[in-house]
């Protein structure tokens, strides 16, 4: 059951009136005279709080984001008024009758131009358009002047949307008996959303219950509190009957969380033999009009800069980062957060340097990758790469894809035949980062632990409640596997519960590749405590010494006999006279878990892709895709494969298809699946995956996260492959998505250059 499937008596639908212009002063909103009470504007709510959002940094400028527009509109699609009716269609009818007057202002649509003096500003009280500007520098900065060789390039990863197939949704009603607001919300983290909703609505948290039923994908997009969600709850408190808003796809593409939109202007320094020395330049993140609660998208810039050195030994880093406000929908996290852009920039750079020096890109990587013997290795940006063998990963991927066969094929290519290219990209994926890392980032909410409540019922069956939120990651399976392992029972006897703040312990939700590390750890350590109590009771029932018994197959065994969990659970829950003297009844523990070290553990891998490019159209076709990855111990290899394949599918979307372009007025040009290209089964190949397992040293079972990795490397690997196909004419492909037009234009430009050069020589 998804949010849109929730049926409550008296439920009515909400449709929003949205801004048609990117930037303007809101002069008036006129409600239809005959239906005023069913239309809501910000003026109808004098008690709503606007939440501070973004990192807790003095330098981070606040961009107050009201539930409905107030004073100004700052992007096309911003909600201005909400209309309530018995069906969505009727609510939309009503919305059409609301008259909005806006005094249009010049739009800011380019993050780099937005930082030029004289650019129009989104927030009058800001000195420029930057939410925050910071310089990250580390290592031996003299290298930048002393370096023997350097190369300068621009990269751009364009804006797209998160596009969960189930779009956003919220159903809210006031439960008069319990005196609480019940909110069904499609979210990745109900507990944190409750915190935000309660604050925005001015209710105590114990009068807000958030239920996330089945959630149809999130990918980051459902990990922020959006104004519509606050508005729907505020209306529910006013109207006295349940209300719902189910976002439609157009609203999703217009006004839900957008992502990427990175601009890089970089210079890489290196030795003549291809040894990388350092990287410097500017990174602009086009963050859209507002910071979303809680943490906005500020991590994009710092993570992009911090991940620029990637898995390579570099000695210096100096990056000026700008997180810029523009008249576009607010940016939020999306699978891979910042790293797809950083990986694209550095991995393209590596290939560009290789091309420049005439080295095989694969060799270039061998020369610079951190070695296993150097682990743990602290990168110049300060990330501690903990365990793994990056060289082995690269070799494995190279073997899987067979470089020499492709090189042969390229040599033998006859004019008129399609071009073929091979591309590599190596990535790392930080996961399991806790207090240290999140407080360093000045996060408003510090997701440094997860919790689990493990309970054995009187019949011996087990319920486990967790604070994370499955939305396709298979937590029911993996968490039950972990508990089964600790408790010595079959996973089928365990139920995993999540998604209701009323019944689950506080937790932060599912994002940042964190659930297997944190929730897996919490379930593991808490189940162990339960197992220990079960063992003690079992020993008592067997009249054996506690150290002489062990747990196996749902029973406690001594040398002379055994007692099943059913009996033990019965004693603990309903027959306390059978318990050891002084022992508390019940078999229930709630525990939290954070890894021993909280700077994070790093999964990693190499993507290798072979593409065919049609010279006449610029169309790119993937011929083969291979991955060699290492996410530490795998609890469930099938789920790992699913995450890798699914992540790559999204990465291919970023790399080849998905984009929301904007015109100069700030009008988004992709607002349906007619203009927004989603890859389907005909575009996404089955990826060949090789695993190696280097357990993490600081997590339970040696697990590392795996949710995001797949999405990080594809744009880089694809662009490298397309560039490789045009090696002979030195074409550069530095902007995603690599649409046929972009590919064709870049190839044409390079060929023209080559011909001109040939003519000059002649």
């Amino acid at each position: 059951m998804f949010v849109a499937d929730v049926r409550l008596p008296g439920l009515q639908d909400i449709a929003f009136v949205r801004s048609g212009v990117a930037h303007g002063r809101l002069l008036s909103v006129n409600k239809p005279a005959d239906d005023r009470e069913r239309v809501f504007t910000i003026d109808d709510f004098d008690d709503l709080n606007v939440l501070e959002a973004g990192p807790e940094l003095e330098a981070f400028r606040q961009s107050p984001y009201p539930a409905l527009a107030s004073g100004k509109v700052r992007y096309v699609g911003q909600a201005i008024a909400a209309c309530v009716a018995t069906t969505r269609a009727r609510a939309e009818d009503l919305a059409e009758r609301v008259e909005v007057e806006i005094d249009e202002l010049p739009a800011v649509v380019d993050a780099v131009a937005a930082m030029q003096p004289g650019s129009p500003r989104l927030f009058e009280n800001w000195a420029d358009n930057a939410f925050i500007a910071r310089t990250i520098s580390a290592g031996d900065l003299n290298l930048f002047s002393a370096s023997p060789m350097r190369l300068k390039r621009r990269f751009r990863m364009n804006r797209h949307a998160t596009v969960s197939l189930e779009i956003r949704g919220v159903v809210a009603h006031w439960d008069a008996r319990l005196e609480e607001l019940v909110v069904h919300l499609s979210t990745q983290g109900g507990h944190v959303m409750r915190l935000g909703l309660a604050r925005a609505l001015g209710l105590p948290e114990n009068q807000v219950r958030v239920i996330a039923p089945d959630v149809g994908g999130g990918f980051g997009g459902k990990n922020r509190l959006l104004p519509e969600e606050i508005a729907v709850c505020a209306i529910a408190l006013k109207v006295g009957h349940p209300v719902r808003w189910i976002e439609d796809r157009r609203e999703h593409l217009l006004a839900s969380v957008h992502c990427r939109d990175h601009h890089y202007d970089l210079t890489v320094c290196f030795e003549p033999d291809g040894t990388l020395l350092g990287i410097e330049g500017d990174v602009h993140i086009d963050a859209g009009a507002y910071a979303l609660w809680p943490t906005g998208s500020f991590m994009e810039a710092s993570m992009a800069a911090g991940n620029l050195p990637g898995p390579y030994r570099m000695k210096a880093l100096r990056v000026n980062t700008f997180t810029v406000a523009t008249n576009k929908a607010p940016m939020g996290p999306y699978r891979g957060v910042a790293r797809p852009g950083a990986c694209f920039a550095i991995e393209r750079m590596v290939d560009e340097v290789a091309q420049h020096l005439g080295i095989e890109p694969y060799e270039m990587r061998k020369r610079n990758l951190v070695k296993r013997t150097e682990m743990p290795y602290v990168t110049v940006a300060g990330l501690k790469l903990d365990t793994g063998d990056y060289h082995d990963s690269l070799d494995t991927a190279a073997k899987m894809i067979d470089i020499s066969a492709i090189r042969r094929r390229q040599k033998e290519r006859k004019p008129g035949e399609p071009r073929v290219g091979i591309g590599f990209a190596v990535y790392t994926e930080q996961s399991g980062h806790g207090v240290v890392e999140w407080s360093k980032r000045k996060s408003r909410v510090v997701p440094g632990y997860e919790s689990a409540n493990v309970r054995m019922l009187p019949d011996g069956s087990v319920n486990i409640s967790v604070g994370v939120q499955n939305h396709g990651q298979g937590h029911e399976t993996t968490l039950a596997q972990i508990a089964a392992h600790e408790l010595g029972i079959d996973p089928s006897q365990i139920r995993i519960r999540y998604g209701d703040t009323a019944t689950t312990p506080f937790g932060f939700g599912t994002f940042a590749s964190r659930s297997i590390v944190f929730a897996g750890g919490a379930v593991g350590v808490t189940s162990r405590r339960l197992a220990e109590k079960i063992r003690l009771i079992g020993a008592h029932l067997l009249q054996a010494a506690p150290e002489s018994v062990r747990i196996e197959n749902g029973a406690v065994l001594s040398d002379s006999g055994s007692v099943g969990f059913g009996e033990i659970a019965r004693a603990a829950n309903i027959r306390q006279e059978m318990l050891p003297e002084g022992m508390e009844p019940l078999l229930e523990f709630t525990g939290t878990y954070e890894p021993k070290e909280s700077a994070g553990v790093f999964s990693y891998g190499t993507h290798a892709v072979v593409v065919e490019v049609d010279e006449a159209t610029g169309g790119v076709k993937i011929l083969d895709y291979a991955v060699s990855e290492d996410c530490g111990t795998m609890i469930n290899p099938m789920i790992v494969d699913g995450q890798v394949q699914g992540g790559i599918s999204q990465g291919i979307g970023t790399g080849l298809y998905e984009e929301i372009p904007f015109n100069a007025d700030g009008q988004p040009l992709a607002t349906t699946f007619g203009e927004y290209m989603m890859p389907c089964a005909t575009e996404i190949p089955t990826v060949r995956i090789a695993h190696s397992v280097t357990p993490a040293l600081v997590t339970e079972y040696g697990v590392k996260g795996v949710g995001e990795g797949g999405a990080i490397a594809p744009p880089a690997a694809l662009a490298n492959a397309v560039a490789d196909a045009f090696r002979d004419c030195k074409a550069s492909f530095n902007e995603t998505p690599l649409t046929p037009r972009r590919v064709w234009e870049a190839a044409q430009a390079a060929m023209t250059r080559m011909e001109a050069a040939a003519e000059t020589r002649a």
Partner: protein, 159 residues
């Protein structure tokens, strides 16, 4: 708004309803009939999540008006609860990890069943082509393709 009276057989049950002419078949089965296996991922015919059968023909219910279904048979995934082929597919989807969030799954099952009823021995390309226009954001499709090929391999000629 003027209402239209329609008689539709939904999953074999005769329904008489009065609908707005603009009501889509998707909204009709979901809101009027309460059948929520039919999902809405785009409401403009591009994602396939809303796929149902109208007189046994694969149909995007978001693109069809309920009023166009007067006197017709509409089958949603709920109506295939006891269908052996759907059951086989469900099993194969399960074994092949062909769903993550599950939102696309009803449409995928509908399309897969339709394909196997037309072609019991599809190759991979055929399966992929049959799924073109069905969006899955989570799985990257390989599990779904695998599941359908697996189901095909298990089909007996008289199924």
């Amino acid at each position: 708004m003027k209402m239209t009276e329609i008689s539709v057989r939904v999953n074999g049950v005769a329904m008489k309803s009065s609908v707005e002419p603009r009501t889509s078949l998707a909204d009709y089965v979901r809101e009027t009939c309460g059948l929520t296996a039919t999902h809405l991922g785009c409401e403009h015919g591009a994602c396939g999540a809303c796929t149902v059968l109208v007189d046994d023909v694969l149909t995007r219910s978001c693109l069809k008006f309920a009023a166009m279904c007067d006197d017709r048979h509409v089958t949603t995934l709920e109506g295939l609860a006891n269908d052996p082929l759907t059951d086989l597919l469900r099993q194969c989807f399960h074994e092949s990890h062909a769903l993550q969030c599950g939102f696309c799954t009803p449409g995928m099952l509908m399309a897969a069943r339709d394909l196997l009823r037309r072609n019991m021995t599809p190759d991979e390309i055929t399966v992929r082509n049959a799924l073109a226009g069905h969006i899955c954001r989570c799985t990257g499709y390989s599990g779904i393709v695998h599941a359908i090929l697996l189901a095909a391999s298990r089909l007996k000629p008289d199924d």
